[in-house]
């Protein structure tokens, strides 16, 4: 059984729920090293995504991912808008006109999305950004793919994302507004890596067909 539009819809819904439930957490993380808008921005964007998907449910994985990306671009406002938006748009390009994705297809889409984030944000590993959670996640996914099980690969990716997120705490930010703080950004967990970890964790929880 592959991953279809309905599965992706479940993932996006779960990501939205998690972001909304953790809005305060994301905001407080961002208030320490940024402009305290990450929780609010992401919650606003994901609520808009869910409303859009409910109003006009896309039929194919590509259409759904594209709609998620376009909505985020227009509603988030902060840097996460173009970054998450690009993530989903590149995923949409990667899946093409497939009705269902196999495990390799999901991996390819995630990697395309992460590549888009890198291209957009020019971030490198250790810059204390969402990339520090996403990069180890796709690497772990690909490593686990040998087993062939989507659930296993996503579980490995989620664990790697969480490890990467935790590792951002001692880093000094080199991108985004947090970089203005210089050394003062050390000792705080990165809010972008935190929300990116939610993204992979909710994928692990929802994408394997129930």
């Amino acid at each position: 059984m592959g991953v279809g539009a309905a599965d992706l819809r479940r993932w996006v819904g779960a990501f939205a729920d998690t972001v909304v439930a953790n809005e305060q957490l994301l905001t407080s993380l961002d208030s320490a090293i940024g402009d305290a808008d990450h929780g609010g921005n992401m919650a606003r964007g994901m609520k808009a995504v869910v409303a859009k998907l409910d109003a006009d449910p896309p039929a194919t994985p590509a259409a759904l991912l594209k709609q998620v990306g376009m909505t985020l671009i227009s509603t988030v406002g902060g840097a996460s808008g173009p970054l998450y938006g690009t993530f989903f748009l590149r995923m949409a390009q990667s899946v093409g006109d497939a009705d269902e994705l196999d495990t390799a297809g999901v991996g390819a889409a995630l990697r395309a999305g992460v590549a888009g984030v890198v291209a957009r944000g020019k971030a490198e590993a250790g810059d204390k950004t969402m990339y520090d959670a996403l990069a180890p996640a796709v690497d772990a996914y690909d490593a686990a793919l040998g087993g062939g099980e989507l659930a296993e690969a996503l579980r490995a990716a989620a664990d790697a994302a969480a490890t990467g997120r935790d590792a951002t705490t001692p880093l000094q930010a080199r991108k985004g507004r947090a970089s203005y703080l210089g050394e003062r950004s050390v000792g705080h967990q990165d809010p972008g890596a935190t929300s990116a970890t939610f993204l992979i964790e909710t994928a692990a929880a929802t994408l394997p067909a129930p």
């Binding site: 808008d37 921005n41 606003r44 376009m70 671009i73 227009s74 509603t75 988030v76 406002g77 902060g78 840097a79 996460s80 808008g81 173009p82 970054l83 938006g85 690009t86 748009l89 957009r120 944000g121 985004g176 507004r177």
Partner: protein, 784 residues
């Protein structure tokens, strides 16, 4: 085509303020789009940026200026979202700091530069600040320099020698005329340049605090250096320039609706208009590469074009406030600047066409300006290009009027009377300058074109809706607002239909008093449009006399008046004799230059100096009067002798025609001078009617000039003082003479009611308003 600009910011307020600042520096039609904020809060939206790029691109591409963080990311993403994928190649994301970069980009783009140049200039926008704040590089030792009298001074002006102080300096040096005066920037160690050339002085790159050396040789060298030093000590007569003068704005104080401060729209001409905005703009003039004649002829063509532009610039300067006029002063100097003129003339002598020679010379100088580090000096490129284009336009000859799409709402800074009189079918007009009594407004009302006065900053195609009677205006209205405007338009249309259905009937008040309703016309076509008019209450004859080298002859005048009479089908025509002077000078009358033409030689006062002009006109009128009911009305009468003299001239015309007095000929005067209104009883025994020109009477009584937006609100025809003057005329006339009102106020229902109550028995209005004015009269009850 102009490069478009897009401003991307987290904050809508920041973006709007930055754009306002940039527009101060680069007024005009520059397309600047804003993509800022998300949902009323901070943020950026790549989809909105893509749309803004689409809107700003007029074909020459777009330069995008951004604030920080997601603004850059969203702008990059926007390039992937453009509707037209090829458009991405015409977009430059400029790394300049937002505010500095935008100001420079706007000035350079308005000057006609290409997008790469705009982006490069904007990216260099920090240079001015850096050189100001960084420790100055050690100046090289002064050269042995030129001989002659020398002096040295420090420039204290906030922005250094930018356009206005530089223009002042150049003007002074040119006035002195004699010694050879040169300048150099000692701080930067520049070369010596001619002090009489604005463009040369500007290349010195003089910033605040720089030391300037001046040297002069030849006769009067001492006085010249002294004068320049004195001007420098006065900070070049610039208010913001004095040392310790505090923070002075470079920008002129707001002076009116064009100041950038949104003023409430002022109603100009009634009616509801809904349509897409369309700016009246002129196309770039063609540059002819092939000389039409020998170098001497081409030189003469260039000289004639520069003369024509000199006249245009002076007229434009006279029409604006003193603060803005300084800019035109700089333009006048550029017109004669040897840095432009000499290369152009040299090229012409080498066989180049005048237009090509001038275009090359101005473009070279403009590029040199644009390359300067200081944004204020770089901005002079726009001045050079503006003057360059104006001369090229004059060389190209009269251009075809731009095609205005039917149904559009025309947006223009102002309209000349000719433009207002010849507009195609537009839904309405939004003017940036003027007043309800300006000639443009009068002409628009006469044509039934709704109009308001408002400072609008909208792009072509944006939907506008306004009510020219109330001044309400909506830009890009919400559906429910739009529906309200359309509903109002429908109501008015229905009322108009009802009025037209009864237009031919006499207008009688509810208590049985008949009131004549006439039309104010300037041509037979106007008379035809005056459906239901009982008479022509005012035939303006100026249109026959304007824009021609010689006065019209008797036969020509007779034919024109007869055509109006025929269009009226036997109803009375009230012919006003020539009301030229003041605002409407005639080439064949050597009208003296007057400090205050509205209080000068105009109207009947002209007849004393040019009696033949009146004699010809009266002879033509008498001939027509033998065949149709005609009234002759003398304008601007102040004293009884003027009327008696004019009547004598009329008797002479009747005698010259030799057919006796036409039986239905009537004689009257315009009452515009307050003194004439107050002593109307002196005139009454000598005339059949008095017609009150409320426009002029109001402006003279309240000392508020028509066309001056700053005092337009004072010029209220319902002011108690004006109404007393009307009352005085009515009481003096009694039953012995008819009192008419032929000013604009006659069409205003509340004013018309007051006038009729005071005893006015004829209202003469714009042709389009005759039917509705009759309905107004029918609703009156003088017993109430």
């Amino acid at each position: 085509m102009t490069v478009g600009l897009v401003v991307v910011s987290h904050s809508r307020a920041l973006a709007d303020a930055a754009v306002a600042l940039a527009r101060e520096m680069a007024p005009g039609e520059l397309p600047i789009e804003v993509a800022a904020g998300v949902d009323g809060g901070f943020g950026t939206d790549a989809v909105a940026i893509a749309a803004a790029i689409g809107a700003a691109d007029r074909g020459a591409g777009v330069v995008v200026l951004m604030d920080l963080g997601s603004a850059v990311l969203s702008a990059e993403l926007a390039l992937e979202l453009l509707d037209d994928p090829d458009q991405g190649e015409r977009v430059v994301l400029c790394p300049a700091p937002l505010v500095e970069g935008l100001v420079v980009a706007a000035v350079v783009a308005a000057g006609g530069a290409e997008r790469a140049e705009v982006a490069a200039e904007a990216a260099g926008a920090m240079a001015g600040k850096l050189s100001q704040l960084a420790p100055a590089a050690a100046a090289p030792p002064a050269e042995a320099s030129v001989a002659g009298v020398q002096a040295r001074f420090t420039v204290h002006n906030t922005h250094g020698l930018h356009a206005r102080p530089a223009a002042r300096l150049v003007a002074l040096v040119r006035e002195i005329d004699g010694p050879n005066v040169q300048l150099r920037n000692a701080t930067t160690g520049s070369a010596w340049v001619a002090a009489g050339s604005l463009s040369a002085v500007a290349t010195l790159g003089v910033l605040q605090g720089h030391e300037i050396e001046v040297a002069a040789t030849g006769p009067g060298a001492d006085a010249a250096v002294e004068a320049v030093a004195a001007l420098a000590a006065r900070s070049f007569d610039e208010p913001g320039g004095r040392p310790g003068g505090g923070q002075e704005s470079h920008f002129p104080a707001p002076t009116g609706p064009e100041s950038g401060f949104p003023a409430l729209p002022v109603p100009l001409a009634p009616g509801v208009a809904v349509g897409a905005a369309f700016h009246l703009r002129l196309a770039a003039p063609p540059v002819d590469d092939v000389p039409l004649g020998e170098p001497a002829a081409e030189r003469a063509r260039l000289a004639a074009a520069r003369d024509a532009v000199r006249g245009e610039i002076r007229a434009a300067a006279a029409a604006v406030g003193a603060a803005e006029a300084a800019i035109f002063e700089a333009h006048l100097l550029l017109l004669d600047d040897p840095e432009l003129l000499e290369p152009a003339l040299a090229a012409i002598d080498g066989g180049t066409a005048a237009a090509r020679a001038w275009a090359d010379a101005t473009s070279t100088t403009a590029t040199a300006f644009a390359a300067l580090d200081d944004p204020y000096l770089a901005g002079r490129a726009a001045d050079v290009r503006a003057v360059g284009t104006q001369v090229l336009t004059a060389l190209a000859g009269p251009a075809a009027a731009p095609a205005v799409p039917a149904g559009a709402v025309l947006v223009a800074p102002d309209l000349t009377p000719a433009q207002a009189a010849t507009l195609p079918a537009v839904a309405g007009v939004v003017l940036g300058a003027g007043s309800p009594t300006s000639h443009a407004a009068i002409l628009l009302r006469a044509r039934g074109v709704p109009a308001v006065l408002a400072a609008l900053d909208v792009d072509d195609g944006i939907l506008l809706a306004f009510d020219g009677a109330t001044g309400e205006l909506a830009v890009d209205p919400a559906p429910e607002v739009l529906a309200r405007f359309r509903e109002r338009a429908t109501d008015q249309q229905e009322r108009r239909h009802a009025a037209l259905a009864r237009a031919a009937e006499t207008a009688v008040t509810r208590n049985g008093v008949p009131v004549l309703v006439g039309a104010n016309v300037g041509s037979a076509a106007d008379a035809t449009a005056a459906v239901g008019a009982d008479l022509v209450g005012l035939l303006r004859t100026e249109f026959l006399f304007l824009d021609r080298p010689e006065a019209p002859g008797v036969d020509e005048q007779e034919a024109a008046y007869r055509a109006v009479a025929e269009a009226m089908g036997g109803r009375r025509v009230t012919l006003r004799t020539l009301d030229a002077g003041g605002d409407k000078p005639l080439p064949y009358l050597a009208l003296p230059a007057e400090a205050n033409p509205f209080l000068g030689l105009r109207g009947i006062r002209l007849a004393a100096r040019w009696p033949q002009l009146l004699a010809d006109q009266l002879l033509a009128a008498v001939r027509v009067a033998h065949d149709t009911p005609l009234s002759i009305m003398f304008p601007m009468v102040s004293v009884l002798d003027e009327l008696l003299d004019a009547r004598r001239a009329l008797e002479e015309a009747i005698a010259a025609e030799g057919r006796g007095t036409p039986p239905e000929l009537q004689v009257g005067i315009m009452v515009e001078v307050p003194a004439a209104a107050l002593k109307a009883e002196q005139f009454v025994p000598h005339l059949d009617f008095l017609s009150i020109g409320t426009n002029d009477l109001t402006q003279y009584a309240l000392a508020a000039e028509r066309g001056n937006a700053a005092v337009a609100a004072l010029a209220d025809p319902l002011d108690a003082g004006v109404l007393r003057l009307v009352d005085a005329v009515c009481r003096a006339a009694g039953d012995r003479a008819l009192v008419a009102v032929c000013g604009e106020a006659a069409a205003d229902p509340s004013a018309a009611q007051r006038f009729v109550r005071l005893g006015v028995r004829e209202l003469s209005v714009a042709p389009a308003l005759v039917a509705e004015t009759k309905q107004t009269v029918r609703g009156l009850d003088l017993r109430e």
